[in-house]
Symmetry: C2
Subunit: 229 residues, 2 copies
């Protein structure tokens, strides 16, 4: 099978390069979906997207270590580091199945091909004094942001999921009170979207969209678009 | 005044390069505090830290645009993009003072020198159906993670603060119900820590610390350290 790969040698692609069409096979292989930015951003951020089709190629152990090291060095409120990760690879079928069972069914269909799965968990109280940590979820987000940038730097892609079964996860892993399962994450190399169902292929090929700056960057007063952008 | 600059030409520094000592002046200038990593990570992540001393050099408008563009392209649950930013630069004294007034006093002392301040705000419900968005804070974290990586790529440093006065911010900016102020962010070029108070200089020079992997990476069961790392 021929695979068309679109290289992303430049930080910002002026046009969507979202589809490589393999005319011989009549297959659509999504190989890159760079952000259509108004202002240039670093390629690790511009080239990030959340694929549904993962290759079965395992993620090298050394890369898994670097992903978690990147997460480790995120900033956090009072340096609490409220993030926890439960990790499973396809090499360990039982562990993998257990983690996969914590995803909603719709996500299991595609995420079950990813070689590396994680659950992210937030510690909801400060270790030092037991007070609630209002920024626990936020700081898990910072850690996963780091992990994602590190993944991109190593040719790996990350797809985060809110669609999990938190109570199932709590039961399966005996997650104690004071911790909340936040997301699941599928990680791996890009696969062939042709192997997805028709509806998932459509989702995979859909253009990326974002809010206008005037909707989310304010100055002076709430809702007043900043003149800076 | 002489300034000793430690360049970070390599992705991972094997030792802490946290202090450049200006012997002539007897001043300590912190110019780099790379993460002491066990596994190598991308330099944008390894070189990130949260300085207290900012230069008065303004942040170029074009860089502010790129910071916010980076935030814009983060992933989010159902692509809700729940992040909002209120932005102020020192060029606009009144706006700047208004934003600074939303920080706790201890943060005002040092953050009030940064040329660029932001408040991050989370939209707590999905726009499509009004349901609560459990991942609003988390996704603000992802956006700020992107912004921070972009800052590092442009020679800018970011210091996030949980120490804000949310009710003051709500009043000052007339932030409506359904939105919550999450953090404040100071952004700028590195300054000279010698200009900080003695106690802040000490904080600036303190070594960086992180949890051991066994404390936050689990497999199979909660609290069971993953053999992957």
């Amino acid at each position: 099978m021929h695979q068309i790969v679109l290289f992303w040698g430049v930080a910002i692609a002026p046009l969507v390069q979202s589809k490589g069409q393999n005319l011989r096979q009549g297959l659509i292989i999504v190989t890159a979906k760079p952000a259509i930015t108004q202002y240039p951003i670093h390629e690790l951020l511009a080239q990030r997207w959340s694929p549904l089709a993962f290759s079965e190629r395992p993620v090298e152990g050394e890369k898994i270590q670097r992903l978690l090291e990147a997460a480790r060095w995120a900033a956090s409120c009072f340096n609490e580091q409220p993030w926890r990760f439960i990790v499973a690879t396809r090499d360990h079928a039982e562990d993998y199945a257990r983690l996969l069972s914590c995803l909603v069914e719709a996500n299991q269909t595609w995420a079950g091909r990813a070689p590396l799965l994680m659950l992210t968990v937030a510690s909801m109280h400060f270790q030092r004094n037991g007070n609630p940590n209002r920024h626990a979820y936020h700081d898990v987000g910072l850690a996963v942001g780091n992990l994602t940038a590190q993944a991109m730097a190593m040719g790996l892609f990350v797809h985060q999921m809110a669609g999990i079964e938190p109570e199932q996860a709590r039961e399966v892993y005996k997650i104690p009170e004071g911790y909340e399962v936040v997301t699941a994450i599928a990680i791996g190399y890009l696969g062939q979207s042709a192997e997805l169902s028709a509806s998932l292929q459509q989702r995979e090929a859909a253009p990326r969209q974002r809010r206008e700056f005037s909707e989310f960057v304010f100055a002076g007063e709430w809702g007043q678009a900043s003149p800076l952008i």
